[in-house]
């Protein structure tokens, strides 16, 4: 089996957190056909990284958002194109309509890279 290498140069180099050059950022797919725009995922996102054109996490928590349809959410990106999503999938577990799926998992680069996990995401398996 191919093992991920962790060289001395990996060890001493801290990645830039906001670029896709160093990190594989988590990313999500929102199915516009299934999404009912209820805003549950936005409210639950640990980092407040999901937003729609009109609504952010804090609007929902503080009660500023009045209900109704908020629009299909997307993942917030930094200026250099990385997202802050870590693919924890709290949003997908709570989504009542199953509209969310993971596009890519989170794997920071260089010093912080994953060594014993592959990039495939699997649901728990009953052995």
């Amino acid at each position: 089996m191919q093992k991920t290498t962790y060289s001395f140069f990996d060890r001493i180099r801290i990645p830039d957190y906001d670029t896709l050059k160093h990190n594989q950022a988590g990313n999500l797919n929102f199915d516009p056909a299934l999404c009912r725009q209820c805003g549950v995922c936005i409210q639950l996102c640990p980092g407040g990284c999901l937003l729609t054109g009109t609504t952010r996490k804090m609007d929902l928590l503080s009660g500023k958002a009045k209900g109704g349809k908020y629009g299909v959410p997307h993942v917030a990106t930094t200026r250099l194109g990385a997202t802050l999503c870590v693919a924890c999938f709290d949003c997908g577990a709570a989504c009542p309509h199953g509209a969310i799926s993971i596009k890519s998992n989170f794997n920071p680069g260089l010093h912080f890279k994953r060594l014993t996990q592959t990039n495939d995401m699997r649901y728990p398996k009953r052995y």
Partner: protein, 251 residues
């Protein structure tokens, strides 16, 4: 996706490929809940959760924990305010991921230096979380109605921090099995940089406060099964000189 109660396997039995039992269901479906109802859990329920912590395994049965339950909205609001202010100050000097090019140019070397000295605290995940707290896009303590602080007795046997982890996980799983929600919060560490919080919470030698557990009613219901990365497992089964056998757990 979630397992219905009628489909659960009985406890204390194993056959290959059987459905989850009640304990596994709670373990698989537990999500860290970060959105709570305003009303706290009843005191009896909090005591029931703490009871699970009291009976957690610990090295040499030394029980190196001290529980502090914070329910007062006034104290919780002050904790939130102080922690958020501290994060804002920190991120003003360290967060190179926001603002323009000039800010990035000036702040990135300082940020990198700090990250190098404290790799765990400034790992990409907490760093981006603090970046979001700094811009006021999320809370530190998630407006939780109750916090259970787990102070660690540093004189404990072997590795007391490990015992705190075991104890806290017992309580988290109990909370979810009772229908409540819980979330580990490590950012409470920030309050330990402020002498007035150390004094107010009574944290001095031999105690150290590194982590707390937010508990409350879930709003909306957030528990559910999620996919996770496939894990590579090494099995040492042959002789002393044999290489391990690798398997992919979960595939």
């Amino acid at each position: 996706m979630n397992v219905r109660n009628e489909e659960l396997s009985p406890l204390g039995k194993y056959t290959e490929g059987m459905p989850w039992n009640a304990v596994e269901k709670i373990i698989m479906e537990r999500r860290s809940v970060r959105s709570f109802r305003k009303d706290p859990l009843p005191d009896s329920m909090i005591e029931r959760i703490l009871e699970a912590g009291r009976f957690a395994p610990s090295a040499g049965n030394c029980q190196p924990w001290r529980f502090i339950v914070v329910k007062s909205p006034e104290v919780l609001a002050a904790m939130e305010r102080d922690a958020a202010r501290f994060v804002k100050l920190l991120m003003f000097f360290l967060d190179y991921t926001r603002g323009g090019w000039l800010r990035r140019l000036l702040v990135r070397p300082i940020g990198k230096l700090f990250i190098r000295t404290r790799m765990n605290e400034f790992h990409p995940v907490p760093f981006s979380l603090m970046s979001k707290i700094g811009t006021g896009e999320t809370h530190v303590f998630h407006n939780a109605p109750t916090l259970i602080l787990m102070a660690e007795d540093r004189r404990g046997v072997s590795c007391p921090a490990m015992d705190i982890g075991i104890c806290g996980q017992n309580m988290a799983l109990t909370a979810h099995s009772l229908g409540a929600g819980s979330c580990w919060i490590g950012l409470i560490k920030l309050l330990m940089y402020m002498p007035w919080w150390k004094k107010r919470l009574g944290i001095k030698y031999p105690y150290r406060l590194e982590v707390c557990l937010a508990v409350g009613w879930q709003k909306p219901k957030a528990d559910g099964i999620v996919p996770r990365e496939v894990q590579i497992i090494e099995w040492f089964e042959g002789g002393l000189k044999d290489k391990p056998r690798y398997t992919k757990q979960g595939e």
